[in-house]
């Protein structure tokens, strides 16, 4: 926890990187409405992802021989925060860049890396996360999807649920049970699933806003090649835990509501009354603090450490901050949809989607359990 008191890690000179990202977003998605800028890492635009790939903003820290750009991790962090602050529609490539690519780099075969990573870095190949199942939510260790080793490869049967972007993803990293005798977190492995393999069915699950983001994915005697095993057989739990640190630690855990803050400031004008000014001041103070905390975690990850406890803290605090803002705006701003359409639209969007912030990527209660363990309470 003391990482938060440490001096700010020194950033390499990023030159005009921030300006380049801002210019790319302005040119590629001009006039992007605030409701689309909110929670933008759940908003997919394949055209934008290809443009980001062409600009060298995906796979930034991967080696060049895999299509990456061999940049410093904190340079990537700069790009992420700029994309999010600008509300860029990054969902299509987000998971590949954040966790699937790094996972393959670490555990994939040379052939898999050469085949998949360059297309990911171009913003053309997308990934989804196959962890949750109907019976395995917070209790992820109870996954039941089975993979059986046969002479032809891995035969997979079962079901994944809540799989974001499965309908556009080309690959999934699935957490499956490879040892039928095992229970809990032993006997689990990660498999690389190519989504067009016969026997896979993807069905939309429409969310409460009417949007199609997540899915259920059925595996019916799906045959995967032997080398679909990622990392080691039976080490799936360990690998997934490291993957979750990547999943939980990024700036998206506190910048999903940024569009609402911008529209609040715009609506407030230069001389708001004290109550509105106070909300803006308070939000700014919390955002500034979270940015610093998020940066500290990113720097640790960049140094090769796994700050799982600190990542859980930043995600928990970021989620609560982002969930408090919509009702606080609603409590203060009398909104006429005709008068301030941007504020009204982004507020409506975030009131509806923000409950998911403390569910996706690990619930508040699970994160606080991790923190409690770090405190020595369990």
């Amino acid at each position: 926890m003391s990482i938060f008191a440490a001096p700010l890690p020194v950033l390499p000179d990023v030159g005009d990187l921030r300006d380049r990202v801002r210019a790319l977003v302005a040119a590629t998605v001009p006039g992007n409405p605030a409701a689309h800028r909110a929670n933008c890492w759940a908003v997919a635009d394949e055209g934008f992802s290809r443009a980001a790939g062409a600009a060298g903003l995906i796979g930034m820290i991967w080696p060049e021989r895999y299509g990456g750009h061999a940049r410093a991790p904190l340079e990537r962090y700069v790009v992420l925060e700029e994309l999010l602050a600008a509300g860029a529609p990054v969902a299509a490539h987000w998971i590949a860049d954040r966790q699937t690519g790094p996972l393959l780099l670490r555990h994939g075969t040379e052939e898999q890396k050469l085949k998949l990573l360059p297309a990911m870095a171009r913003g053309e190949l997308y990934a989804c996360i196959g962890m949750s199942e109907p019976g395995a939510g917070s209790d992820l260790a109870s996954v039941r999807t089975r993979a059986e080793r046969t002479k032809d490869g891995w035969r997979v049967n079962g079901q994944k649920l809540w799989t974001s972007g499965a309908h556009r993803a080309h690959i999934m990293i699935a957490l499956v049970r490879t040892d039928p005798e095992s229970t809990r977190n032993a006997g689990l492995s990660q498999l690389l699933v190519t989504m067009d393999t016969p026997g896979i069915t993807v069905r939309p699950v429409i969310d409460l806003t009417g949007a199609h983001d997540f899915n259920e994915v059925f595996f019916d005697d799906v045959l995967l090649p032997h080398d679909a095993l990622i990392g080691k057989e039976g080490e799936g739990w360990k690998q997934v835990t490291a993957e979750l640190s990547l999943e939980r630690s990024g700036p998206e855990r506190y910048l999903s509501s940024y569009a609402l803050f911008v529209e609040l400031m715009r609506w407030a004008g230069p001389e708001p009354d004290a109550a509105v000014a106070a909300l803006i001041g308070r939000t700014a103070a919390e955002l500034w603090t979270l940015r610093r905390m998020s940066w500290a975690v990113a720097a640790k990850l960049a140094g090769g450490e796994d700050p799982a406890l600190e990542a859980a803290m930043v995600k928990d605090l970021g989620n609560s901050f982002e969930q408090a803002l919509p009702p606080a705006v609603q409590a203060l701003a009398e909104i006429d949809p005709a008068g301030a359409p941007e504020l009204a639209a982004v507020l409506a969007q975030l009131l509806m989607v923000s409950p998911s912030f403390s569910l996706r990527g690990g619930t508040r209660e699970i994160l606080r359990g991790i923190i409690a363990r770090g405190l020595g309470l369990r």
Binding site: F4, M265, E271, A277, R368, L375, L377
Partner: protein, 331 residues
């Protein structure tokens, strides 16, 4: 960071743990150890420390619930030296000032002056100037904050004042409270964790109950936020312009004090509500410090107006630029 920070922190830790209850003895010991000269430049005979050094020492003072105006004296001596004002005698600073400076003469009221009656001179800001006033020239009255710490009122009528240009006394006072609070919150969290690990109910340690775990996790996250905010404000203060960062850090700290003190008392049950138990020296100070040098409304409205004056699209680039400036300095 100064090279001698570890040594200073060691000295402070030993000293704070051994302090008794007599104010005059305690302040003399802290002065003798040089802690009140921590922020004074070496050229002026001080330690030449930066805000990071002050943070380390004041967090310890906060954690030990040290009942001394250590930060106040530190800051007063630095500001006096920088403004060419006399360092003679024991200095303190005013938490609030009302009044006017006319030529070399001040008429007005200084309030929330920490240990004002025990000081020889007080620094305050009025009319764009940093003033040094002799306590002997004031009608002085004792007042105390909820922690029992003196926050005195000094009334001056055409009192002689020496002065220098304004130097951000109030904001730096707020930074002192942030740094002390960081230490006190940390200590209250540790006390709470230890307590729930030791106390048994229903045949188990309280720590085994998920409701208790979740509450203390939330507290720990608030402590982490205060640490981050304090570190950020110190770096900005060392870089020069910390107007935004100190305000943000004080506001963030005030919020954390609400969450943290409530959680600490809740998990302690009745024992934490007793005079004998060591929680209240921390929590009563935290409640007091939350009001001092700007409460939530003060900083929130002030920051809010500064931000909206720049326009909605300026906020993000400015937050980024303010950090990049620190990075450039560091590299």
């Amino acid at each position: 960071m100064s090279d001698n920070r570890d040594m200073v922190v060691d000295t402070a830790a030993r000293l704070f743990a051994a302090l008794g209850s007599d104010y005059a003895t305690n302040i003399a010991e802290v002065e003798a150890a040089g802690l009140t000269d921590l922020l004074l430049p070496a050229d002026d005979g001080g330690f030449g420390g930066d805000w990071g050094d002050a943070a380390a020492v004041l967090a310890l003072a906060g954690a030990h619930a040290v009942a001394l105006p250590l930060g106040e004296v530190m800051l007063a001596r630095r500001l006096a030296a920088a403004g060419g004002l006399s360092l003679n005698g024991r200095l303190t600073i005013a938490g609030a000032t009302q009044g006017r400076l006319t030529g070399d003469s001040f008429t007005g009221t200084l309030s929330q002056v920490p240990w004002g009656l025990e000081a020889d001179a007080v620094l305050a800001e009025a009319d764009g100037r940093l003033l040094r006033l002799a306590v002997a020239d004031a009608r002085a009255a004792r007042a105390i904050n909820p922690a029992g710490e003196p926050r005195d009122t000094l009334v001056f009528e055409r009192a002689p004042a020496t002065s220098a240009s304004e130097a951000g006394l109030f904001a730096q006072g707020a930074l002192l409270r942030v740094l002390q609070s960081a230490g006190a919150l940390d200590a209250a969290l540790k006390l709470s964790v230890d307590y729930v690990n030791g106390r048994q109910q229903f045949g188990r340690a309280l720590a085994a109950f998920q409701a208790v775990q979740q509450l203390l996790s939330q507290f720990a996250v608030e402590v982490a936020a205060v640490r981050a905010a304090a570190a950020g404000a110190c770096e900005a203060a060392d870089a020069g312009d910390a107007a935004f960062e100190i305000g943000a850090a004080k506001l963030r700290t005030n919020i954390a004090i609400g969450v943290g003190t409530a959680a600490a008392h809740q998990v302690h049950g009745a024992i934490g509500f007793t005079q004998d138990y060591s929680l209240h020296p921390l929590t009563r100070r935290l409640w007091s410090w939350r009001s001092e040098f700007g409460n939530d409304a003060y900083w929130a409205v002030r920051l809010g107006h500064e931000i909206t004056a720049q326009g909605a699209d300026a906020f993000w680039p400015q937050v980024v630029a303010r950090t990049d400036r620190l990075n450039r300095r560091a590299s």
